[in-house]
Amino acid sequence: MLDFPRWKVVSIWLTIAVLCALAIPSLLPQRITDSWGSFPHPRINLGLDLAGGSYLLLEADVNDVATSRLETMREQVQTEMRRQDPRIEIGDISTRGGRLSFLLRNPAQVDAARERLLAITGGGVGMTGQREWDIQVVDSSRLVLTPTQAGLTQAVDTAMGDATEVVRRRIDELGTREPTIIRQGTNRIVVQVPGLQNPQALKDLLGKTAKLEFKLVDETASPQQLVAKQAPAGSQVLAYPTNPAGIPLIAVKRSAILTGDQLTDARQEFSQQTNEPQVAITFDSQGGRKFAQVTRENVNKPFAIILDNQVISAPNINEPILGGRAQISGSFTTESANALAIALRSGKLPVALKVVEESTVGPDLGAESIRAGILASAVAVALVVAFMLVTYGRFGVYANLAVVINVFVIVGVLALIGGTLTLPGIAGFVLTIGTAVDANVLINERIREERRRGRTVSQAIELGYSEASRTIFEANMTHAISGIIMFILGSGPVKGFAVVLLIGIATSVFTAVLFTRMLTVQWLRRTKPKTINI
């Protein structure tokens, strides 16, 4: 008991010093830590309930992925069968029932068709070697492609990965501070944007699948036809909410000149002549050539920019646009030009995302919660400290030192692992302060008991620590079990609570058992008391 080696003492103090030092940046105002530059200063992130801001849970419809995958496969099959010699004539192609089936005009080509299908349906999924599609021959001339579960899972996975990237790019374009975008589960994305004033703008941006097309405007359509939604042959009527002509509809040619994937850049800028906001767009080389050809043939005619089957602008072609660079001007405000540029630039979402959960906390409420949380924590610490002091005297002082250090250590560990402090996290914090002394209560009560049984001071202390340690271990293990379960199954605030609780359990065992024991031993060695007041 009395031999507490020096290396142990040194390492305990060192650990405490390091962990407490980690807490310092989080306790200082942001502007001070910012001035440290590259000197590392991990800070606790504040959850949205404390910082104020918006939280969105986006969900993709898995069926959409399946449907569009089937459509893509259909196009691929049609191209592939025609691409090589000999051409394989097919017919009666259908995607009904979630399967792709088609008929071979010449049944003798079954094996050749199969070969080509094998090439385009991929070798297998990941490491498992499972196929993405099952190929079956029915009635010797009908081929049926059935998507396998493994293939579908992978497709959803890829689509969600891409969608997350698109969402990230779009949000970055908004220029908000430290957004968090995380994929969750198979088909969800969590978006957290602290301090966002206008979540509507964010959702408008995210809600778009942004299927971008450029089409020529069909000027032959009469207003009557438009209102009746009847378009001339080869054209279609689309919504055009901001049509300067008054009718919120416009007719465009069905075939697209260009699509969004040929666009390489789009940004808002100001016109050199009129100083009005405009959008500058750049196409890739292939798109640029196509655009040059179409604009040469259609000078003084308008073309429509179509986003998700809605016309957002129909500028006039003033001159042939060569070299793949164009500017769209019109009645833009800086914001609307910027919004168009973002929509053009951030690419197409591979799946439609729906907002299934949303919350926004006003910055005032967040600030108030922080104030209340800090006050409650301070008062809780003060009450517990005073109570421990009057109950256990010197041993209470040790326990209190442990509690105070524990507070700093929790902050330090949270900052180190990049944890997020939420409102329930503060509650977890306060609760930890309450439970952290439990270990010391157990030890001290045990020492009291052993003293009553007539043990000497050092025997009582030795027994107090050794007997209580086992109990402390058992009790904290069970507590940790519920914490771990909360962490795994909880979402948002509950998770934040669990993190603080788990850290608190680990650190309190360290400070309450090891640290106080060290202090007690050092005191015993110094004074060798015959009696203790406990």
Binding site: V361, F387, P493
Partner: protein
């Protein structure tokens, strides 16, 4: 300095003798709690129910009837108003907006905010959240799953580390704590949301902590006094750990009281649930789990594993306080 002792030395309360009464009372309360939970149901928060929740702060306490009229006039379904914390802060709950894409919900929030802003100048919006029915279903499922897994995990731990009777009695005690908490929420109709699930899990954790400490002492005493009657061992163990039980409960209650009064209104339900849980948990540690051990027929093993011996363990012991059987 004279130190404070909440519990005097050498208590010798015959907890076990009161066991019959306690079981009766516990059973009665549990039945009542289950009954009230089924009869009145829980006031599920927007997390679990799905829907739209807006919190507004007013310059002065608003006239509730007028506010209700203003909100109902928006034609968004029946609004339920609830005072939240102080009389100036109110939550307005609305059902899930049909045709529920995000646009509908946003429009609803905007509408309500605008209408309130006009009718009650100086009102500011503090937060809102909306949850679709689908997500709320999952949240309920995960919440229930978390609680069930926590109970099972802890029970399993108790069985592995102790003996099966400890596991069973511990689980019984936790179920008791849960039932009581649910009954309390059904009775008071406090909002039951995701945070409360966290509180419930914490209660479980704490309550277990408490029980394990007593169980641990019972096990220790079973080894120390092999021939002692189980009832006496339980009594002795509960009495021996009583100072600790009371001390710890008091410190945690002190901390929670600070949170209840100063922690802001958002956490109030959460804190109330935990305070209740600590009181109930402490009771069930003494009266449900420990006493149940006797009913389950736990007895000291006549040929126990060799107790860890050290110089001090072999040292003389003073006589136990209770008479030997």
């Amino acid at each position: 300095m004279k130190l404070l002792k909440l519990v005097p030395d050498h208590t010798n309360i015959d907890f076990v003798r009161l066991r019959g009464w306690a079981f009766g009372l516990t059973l009665l309360l549990s039945v009542l709690a289950v009954g009230v939970t089924f009869y009145k149901g829980l006031n599920f928060g927007v997390d679990f129910e799905g829907g739209l929740m807006i919190e507004e702060r007013f310059a002065t306490p608003p006239d509730l009837d007028r506010l209700r009229d203003v909100v109902d006039a928006q034609g968004l379904g029946e609004a339920s108003l609830q005072q939240f914390g102080d009389p100036r802060t109110l939550t307005i709950r609305l059902p899930v907006q049909e045709g529920a894409d995000e646009g509908a919900t946003n429009a609803a929030v905007k509408k309500v905010e605008t209408a309130i802003g006009q009718a009650f100048p100086g009102a500011t919006f503090s937060r809102y959240s909306t949850i679709s029915g689908k997500v709320s279903g999952e949240l309920i499922r995960n919440g229930v799953l978390a609680v069930v897994l926590a109970v099972l995990g802890i029970g399993l731990f108790a069985i592995v580390r102790f003996e099966w009777q400890f596991g069973v009695s511990t689980i019984a005690a936790i179920v008791h704590d849960l039932v009581m908490t649910l009954g309390f929420f059904a009775l008071t109709q406090f909002e039951f949301d995701l945070n409360i699930v966290a509180a419930v899990l914490t209660i479980i954790g704490y309550s277990i902590n408490d029980k394990i400490v007593i169980d641990d002492r019972i096990r220790e005493n079973m080894r120390r006094y092999r021939k002692m009657d189980m009832r006496e061992i339980v009594n002795l163990s509960v009495n021996e750990t009583l100072p600790r039980t009371v001390m710890t409960s008091v410190t945690i209650l002190l901390a929670l009281a600070a949170l209840l009064f100063l922690g802001g209104h958002v956490l109030r339900g959460f804190t109330a649930a935990m305070i209740l849980g600590i009181v109930v948990g402490t009771y069930s540690s003494i009266y449900v789990s420990s006493s149940l051990l006797i009913t389950l027929g736990l007895r000291a093993d006549p040929t126990p594993e060799k107790v860890k011996t050290s110089a001090i363990d072999n040292a003389e012991r003073v006589a136990p306080r209770t008479p030997r059987a």
